[in-house]
C-alpha cells in the first residue's frame, strides 16, 4: 500500500475519535469531515516524487499525533478542517489610496 493511501486509511480510522475529542459533531458530520480531508489530499495530487510524498505523509502524521494528544485547540481544527478558510492564504489587494502611495514611491 502506498504511503499516502495507508495514511488516508489511518486518518479515516481515527476520525470518530477526533470527532468526539474536539466535539465536532455539533458542527459537522463525519462524512463532510472525511470529504474535506480528502480535498487536502487532492491539493497535492500532482506530486509524484516519492521522497516528497514521504515527507508530506510524515508531516501529516505528526499533525495527526498532535491532534490525538490534544496539543491543538478546537479552533485550530475547525479553521483547518471544518470551515477550510485560511485568512492568510490570499492577500487582499491594497486599497486605491495605498496603491497610489506605493506607485508614487
Amino acid at each position: 500500500m502506498s504511503a499516502s493511501k495507508g495514511f488516508y486509511r489511518t486518518v479515516c480510522r481515527y476520525l470518530p475519535t477526533l470527532m468526539e475529542m474536539y466535539k465536532l459533531d455539533e458542527l459537522t458530520t463525519i462524512r463532510t469531515l472525511q470529504h474535506n480531508i480528502k480535498q487536502k489530499f487532492y491539493e497535492n495530487k500532482t506530486v509524484k516524487d516519492p521522497n516528497r510524498i514521504n515527507v508530506m505523509v510524515h508531516k501529516a502524521d505528526e499533525e495527526l499525533r498532535l491532534l490525538l494528544r490534544m496539543h491543538k485547540q478546537r479552533h485550530h481544527v475547525i479553521t483547518k478542517y471544518v470551515v477550510m478558510h485560511d485568512p492568510f492564504a490570499t492577500k487582499a489587494p491594497p486599497s486605491g489610496f495605498l496603491a497610489q502611495f506605493y506607485a508614487s514611491n
Binding site: M1, K5, G6, C12, Q34, K38, Y42
Partner: protein, 131 residues
C-alpha cells in the same frame, strides 16, 4: 484405581445435581453430558455467510458509495478503478465500508489486494469472522 473411583464419585455427584439417577446414568457419555450442562449450554455461531448473500451485500455497499453510478455496478466486471472510475482514496473508502458492513478488520496488505467487487466477495466469503 483411586483415580477411577474419584472419577466415579464425581460422575455420581454430577448426575445427582442433574437430578438423574439409575445405574445407566453413570456412564462416561452421561458424565460428558453432565459437564456440558454444568458449564451451561454452548452457543454456536450462525453458519458462515453464503456467497449469494455476500454478493448482494457487497454490491449494495458499492452502489451506495457517493461517487459510484449504481447502474454500472454488476457482479461480473466491476473493477473499482477501471469500471467505476474511483481513485485510490475512494478505493480505501470502499474497503472501509466493507469493514463496517461485515464487521471485519481487513489488514492493510489484504485491503490493497481488493481492487474489484469479485475480489471483495471472494475475500469476505472465505473470511471466518464476516457477519
Amino acid at each position: 484405581m483411586a483415580l477411577r473411583s474419584l472419577a466415579g464419585s464425581i460422575a455420581k455427584s454430577v448426575v445427582q445435581t442433574m437430578g438423574v439417577s439409575g445405574p445407566s446414568a453413570l456412564g462416561a457419555g452421561r458424565l460428558r453430558l453432565g459437564q456440558a450442562a454444568l458449564f451451561g449450554l454452548r452457543g454456536y455461531a450462525d453458519a458462515a455467510l453464503t456467497k449469494d448473500e455476500v454478493t448482494a451485500r457487497v454490491l449494495e455497499v458499492v452502489k451506495n458509495m457517493e461517487k459510484v453510478d449504481p447502474a454500472k455496478v454488476n457482479e461480473e466486471s466491476c473493477d473499482f478503478t477501471k469500471d467505476l472510475g474511483l481513485d485510490s482514496l475512494d478505493t480505501v473508502e470502499v474497503v472501509m465500508a466493507f469493514e463496517e458492513e461485515f464487521q471485519l478488520e481487513i489488514p492493510d496488505d489484504e485491503a490493497d489486494k481488493i481492487a474489484s467487487c469479485q475480489q471483495a466477495i471472494e475475500y469476505i466469503a472465505q473470511h471466518p469472522m464476516a457477519k
